[in-house]
């Protein structure tokens, strides 16, 4: 019997042209407080691609919320199209072939949203359906892949494109507090696109089938990760609770157990783990709670090291690195796992 479940046919990623070491930021914005400095230098991040404003009179950049939002839009329209091109070009496709577009972001609220802007920028067909997922945070890539995969299944043979565009440098607040320094030392800018289609024609393509999803929300930790308005600075500001790694760790087994049980699988059957590069501590918490090895999270770590936390697109950067490595074999199972505000853990099962 031919298998027509949706498959991830391609992936493409892009980042802003400028790349910074952690020390470069400290120098650029003249960060002197040793506590703040150590947050940057002791993290497991070496470089990040960012759209950085020039230093202000006292070092810290001076950007209004309006300027930040303009940066979000400009940045998304620069790297979003690049990621889409890289995703489609290897298959000889263009945006004219796309029937459904899902855009994901948390770094700015715009109406019309990024999907409309991207369609105009790149010349999608006028009858391409679209949806925007805005404000769901780091986990949103799987919150997007779930409906994208359902749409593909309901519309066999048609191409669905999901694009994550996170301009985290448009969400930066510099006020010399620990709260903002944690955020400013962690997040990077990046875009990632994946192409999904359910078609028997892809039977022989080396592209994983999307077998299912499982979600988990932790209502008691609703405030642990927030991007909300800060009246004192007149900007949206990220907040990350220090207990996030432990909240996520303590819950990580649950959606995973349900996901695997649905498909009659055990953890040992999973050859590839694509875990969101949330930060060193949260990755450690996942490792020791679900019992996976340092090797299993090698791409999670290397993406964090080279790009920082790219929010909703991070796990797709890991996915791209996994494919580039050339170790995946037909029949291998993979688990995708993302975590973020809610607090939530999202999982997906794929099979090559």
């Amino acid at each position: 019997m031919l298998d027509s479940r949706p498959r991830i046919l391609s992936v493409g990623t892009a980042n802003p042209p400028e790349r910074y070491r952690q020390e470069d930021l400290l120098e650029r914005y003249r960060v002197a407080d040793p506590r703040l400095r150590s947050l940057f230098t002791s993290s497991h991040i070496r470089t990040r691609h960012l759209y950085l404003a020039p230093a202000g009179p006292d070092g810290a950049p001076v950007e209004s919320q309006g300027e930040l939002l303009a940066k979000h839009r400009r940045g998304a329209m620069e790297i979003g199209p690049q990621a889409v091109e890289k995703c489609l070009a290897p298959l000889g496709l263009t945006v004219k072939d796309i029937d459904y577009l899902c855009c994901i972001t948390t770094t700015g609220f715009l109406t019309p949203g990024l999907s409309a802007l991207l369609m105009r920028e790149m010349g999608f067909r006028e009858d391409c359906s679209r949806v925007d997922i805005v404000g769901m945070g780091c986990n949103a890539g799987l919150n997007g892949l779930n409906p994208v995969s359902s749409w593909a299944l309901a519309n066999p043979g048609k191409y669905a494109l999901m694009v994550s565009m996170e301009i985290c440098s448009a969400a930066y607040v510099f006020d010399n507090s620990m709260r903002t320094a944690i955020v400013n030392s962690l997040f990077g800018d990046g875009a990632a696109a994946v192409l999904v289609r359910a078609s028997e024609k892809d039977e022989r393509a080396f592209a994983p089938k999307i077998l299912g999803f499982n979600s988990h929300i932790i209502p008691e930790a609703v405030g642990a990760m927030r991007y909300d308005w800060d009246d004192t600075v007149g900007k949206f500001s990220f907040f990350l609770d220090r207990d996030i790694p432990y909240v996520v760790g303590a819950n990580a087994e649950r959606p995973l157990a349900r996901l695997l049980a649905t498909h009659g699988l055990r953890r040992r059957h999973i050859a590839h783990w694509l875990v969101h590069s949330g930060g060193k501590k949260v990755v450690d918490a996942i490792k020791y709670n679900i019992g996976i090895s340092e090797w299993d999270v090698r791409h999670t770590h290397s993406v964090l090291r080279d790009y920082g936390n790219l929010s909703s697109g991070s796990f797709l950067f890991s996915y791209e690195r996994l494919l580039a490595e050339g170790r995946v074999r037909r029949g291998d199972y993979g688990v995708m796992m993302t975590m973020g505000p809610g607090s939530t853990i999202e999982t997906a099962l794929i099979r090559w």
């Binding site: 790694p245 040992r268 060193k280 450690d284 020791y288």
Partner: protein
């Protein structure tokens, strides 16, 4: 059921599974049966400790098709099995009653504790035969240091039980194997599988983890341990 081993899970004591090797040499069938035992221990077993009983003269190359060249994938499969035993979600005790050679020694090294009778010897003759003693090149040095490991591997010399005890390769020696097993199980109790296996994992990782990373790993593991019922009980008792 099994041909090359016997497996009794919970028959004598609910917390204990006993796996007995019934073959002098490890053949393909025994590897497959050991994999099946691992499946059972990972998926269904309520036991807390596994006793791996017996001895082994190592891998039986006569069991492989003589017309086929040995390829590296077979060795990979073997190493995966040894790692799997090393990481079982149970505490493992190797109880040895005869020579542990090559692959047999490797299996013992993958266990959490090793006990034996005085006549038992340990050796890795592989290098003398022109190949490598598996990932014993990695594990043995952690137990005895690189110096002793080099001597044992390069000379193929057998280590007797007394020297093995002195070097830390075995934890206890007694002519009465049942007695030493009972003593070891008592010493390991009360057994908390989560805390025990997390401690084992951190120890296995200790030689090659940077201190900055190790503290993060420890905190993640400790949080898991203190979230378990076992620790919450301890805490409730301590606090009256």
């Amino acid at each position: 059921m099994f041909e090359t081993l016997s497996f009794n899970d919970g028959g004598v004591h609910a917390d204990v599974a006993v796996l007995t090797l019934k073959r002098d040499r490890i053949n393909v069938r025994q590897i497959r049966e050991l994999e099946r035992v691992c499946d059972q221990l990972e998926d269904h077993s309520a036991c807390k400790v596994v006793v791996l009983r017996g001895h082994s003269l190592g891998i039986d190359f006569t069991d492989f098709d003589p017309k086929e060249a040995l390829d590296i994938h077979g060795f990979n499969k073997w190493e995966k099995l040894v790692s799997r035993i090393e990481r079982l979600p149970k505490i493992t005790v190797a109880a040895l009653d005869g020579p542990c050679v090559g692959g047999g020694f490797q299996l013992a090294l993958a266990c959490d504790q090793r006990v034996c009778t005085p006549a038992v010897t340990f050796s890795l003759p592989e290098v003398k035969l022109g190949f490598l003693p598996g990932m014993a090149t990695y594990r043995l040095a952690k137990y005895v240091g690189v110096g002793h490991a080099k001597r044992l591997m390069l000379t193929g010399a057998a280590l007797n039980a007394e020297d093995a005890l002195r070097l830390g390769v075995v934890d206890d020696v007694d002519p009465d194997l049942d007695a030493v097993i009972a003593r070891t199980l008592t010493a390991l109790g009360p057994m908390h599988a989560v805390a025990g296996t997390l401690a084992r994992r951190l120890l296995l990782e200790s030689f090659h983890t940077e201190p900055e990373d190790a503290i993060g790993h420890f905190l993640a593991a400790q949080h898991r341990a203190i979230s378990q019922a076992a620790f919450l009980d301890t805490l409730a008792k301590e606090r009256g």
